[in-house]
């Protein structure tokens, strides 16, 4: 019996350090949780400063479905040993946090620890010092910068050549050649021209392109003594379209023929706008419809209604998903870049046409890159993808 008791005591003594190592206690006397690990604090890359990114590995006890951990507490201080204050309490499973309430060029220290039920928590782990600073250049956009500068130089070079009086050839664009025909038809029939500059606001470049073309179309309309209707989906577009059409009538020497209410606001709602424009088409029966700008699902509803009233239709957009609808339902469609070229093309001004030649030269360069890149990739040379990703 004494032998068994001695063996039991021996086993108890042998296991004591192990038990103490497993069940540590917090300063308050509770059990301690396992802390997270690999805590890193670094300046957030490619930002304007004022933020520090924190990341860590989950505590070993933070396991989905059977975790004892409720979350993580992050504290921050400007001194290493003291002054830590809680800045965030995050749920279990979180491995990162961005601190945006800091000042640039100042040292910060962080600590993170896991918390569980009943107030128990782990020992904290520390990171720092770390300083937030502003990055003034985004190296990931170097390729875009180079391409933009090259393209801009081409455009500026050909504008310069045009300014010197050089005659530049622009290929005919059928859709734009038909603008005059469409307005002429409307004049002969005594019906209005309907112009829709897309459904987006003035912060969309396609809307701006649509408004610039509106200036040219409105001038032709004024010269032909026809009438133009411009129902707008955005108030700001209406305001600018009004000024544009008014100036066009003024330039054509017919300010008296300008009717403010012909350029009107309908609604911001996409399908409400479609319903209203369809109503205008069915009532006014325009002889020529222009759809130039950004369009979404309403493109086909508008174009098919226009087709049903027998209008000659010219559309233009850079939305690839809407182009097939316009191609199917309209007489002429300006595809992508042609929308942006339209204003320059219609003006016929040498400076504007020069920019189109520069744009075409940019296309040639891109085409060359695509061909060279495809050949290099085919033979296993990774140069092109390196250029495109950095």
């Amino acid at each position: 019996m004494n032998r068994y008791r001695a063996l039991f005591l021996l086993a108890l003594l042998a296991s004591t350090p192990y038990v103490f190592a497993q069940v540590e206690t917090s300063p308050e006397g509770g059990e301690l949780l396992a802390p997270p690990s690999n805590f890193i604090a670094e300046d957030t890359p490619l930002d304007n400063g004022n933020s520090i990114s924190l990341s860590w590995n989950l505590s070993p006890e933070d396991i989905i479905g059977k975790t004892d951990i409720e979350g993580y507490i992050i504290e921050r201080s400007t001194e290493k040993e003291t002054g830590y204050q809680k800045i965030a309490e995050l749920p279990a499973g979180t491995t990162s946090y961005t601190d945006t309430e800091i000042e640039n060029k100042k040292n910060y220290y962080y600590k993170v620890y896991s918390i569980g039920k009943g107030g128990i928590h782990s020992e904290p782990i520390y990171a720092g010092p770390v300083i937030a600073s502003t990055q003034w250049f985004n190296p990931e956009r170097t390729n875009m910068l180079v391409a933009s500068i090259l393209l801009s130089l081409f455009v500026l070079y050909f504008i310069f050549r045009a300014r010197k009086g050089e005659k530049l050839y622009i290929r005919p664009i059928a859709g734009l050649e038909a603008v005059q025909e469409a307005i002429g038809r409307a004049t002969e029939m005594g019906k209005p021209v309907l112009y829709i500059p897309g459904i987006m606001d003035m912060d969309d470049i396609q809307t701006i392109a649509g408004i610039t073309i509106l200036g040219k179309v409105a001038r032709m309309v004024a010269e032909y003594d026809a009438e133009i209707l411009v129902p707008c989906c955005r108030s700001l577009v209406m305001t600018i379209a009004r000024e544009t059409v008014k100036e066009a009538y003024l330039d054509a020497g017919r300010p008296d023929a300008f009717k403010t209410d012909n350029i009107r606001y309908l609604t911001d709602d996409q399908f409400g706008y479609v319903a209203a424009v369809d109503g205008i088409m069915l009532r006014e029966k325009p002889a020529a419809n222009f759809y130039l700008g950004t369009f979404y699902a309403e493109s086909l509803i508008l174009a098919e209604t226009g087709h049903s009233v027998g209008a000659i239709q010219i559309a233009g957009t850079a939305m690839p998903s809407q182009l097939p609808f316009f191609v199917a339902a309209c007489d002429y469609t300006l595809i992508g870049e042609e929308l942006f070229a339209a204003s320059a093309y219609l003006s016929g001004e040498p400076l504007m046409l020069g920019s189109l030649i520069g744009q075409d030269m940019g296309k040639v360069i891109i085409l060359a890159f695509i061909i060279v890149g495809s050949v290099l990739e085919t033979f296993g040379v990774d140069v092109s993808s390196l250029f495109l990703t950095k």
């Binding site: 250049f137 003024l250 399908f271 504007m352």
Partner: protein, 207 residues
């Protein structure tokens, strides 16, 4: 001065926004300009509202064609505005109820018209009048058949229409879309340069 000041503002704002695109340190500029844009939109919205009211009141006064539609429009406009301002627009409000039970179904009705218009437009587009239209017809038929279960049933499964449809969508279709997008991107750069440099002034009403 009346012409030069807007052009100068356009030049400065345009160049500033280009520079900030490449400089993370200046990203706050875009946020600020976006906020200013929102403020401008709010004021422009008042002009839009007044335009809508004026046009429809004039229609009613002159008894223009279909003037009767202007009455429910004005009633709806003012009712929604008064209810929204007076009792809020959040979840559980009358405004929200009217929006969800009137506006949303009406929008859905307009959207559903698309199905019929797709059919009528497709009928015209798919007539094999020339080589391009014939190719479009063949490609569209293969893609349509390849995207429905019948393509893998019976003898049709031997034609591998689903694989051909996927190939058409992955290669020729993607190539075409990317070509349009590259062209459009170049157009955006050239248009932006013309506007920033003051060569393009039609948007300001300047010829």
């Amino acid at each position: 001065m009346k012409q030069r000041l807007p052009l100068l503002i356009t030049l400065i704002v345009g160049l500033t926004l280009i520079v900030q695109f490449f400089s993370p340190g200046l990203s706050f500029i875009q946020e600020r300009f976006t906020n200013w844009f929102l403020v401008v939109i709010v004021f422009a919205f008042l002009l839009g509202f007044l335009s809508l009211v004026k046009v429809n009141i004039t229609k009613i006064k002159r008894r223009s064609e279909d003037w009767g539609y202007s009455i429910p429009l004005l009633i709806a406009l003012f009712t929604m505005a008064i209810i929204g301002i007076g009792w809020g627009i959040g979840e559980g409000t009358i405004f929200n109820w009217l929006f969800m039970n009137l506006m949303v179904p009406m929008s859905a009705t307009m959207f559903s018209l698309l199905a019929f218009f797709v059919a009528s437009a497709a009928y015209r587009a798919f007539r094999a009048r020339n080589l391009e239209a014939a190719m479009l017809l063949i490609a569209a038929t293969i893609v349509m058949l390849g995207r429905v279960p019948i393509s893998s049933a019976g003898f049709l499964s031997y034609l591998k229409l689903d694989a051909i449809a996927n190939w058409i969508m992955t290669y020729p279709n993607t190539v075409g879309q990317r070509a349009i997008m590259i062209g459009a991107a170049l157009g955006v750069v050239a248009t932006s340069l013309r506007i920033i440099l003051g060569i393009e002034r039609a948007y300001m009403g300047e010829e």
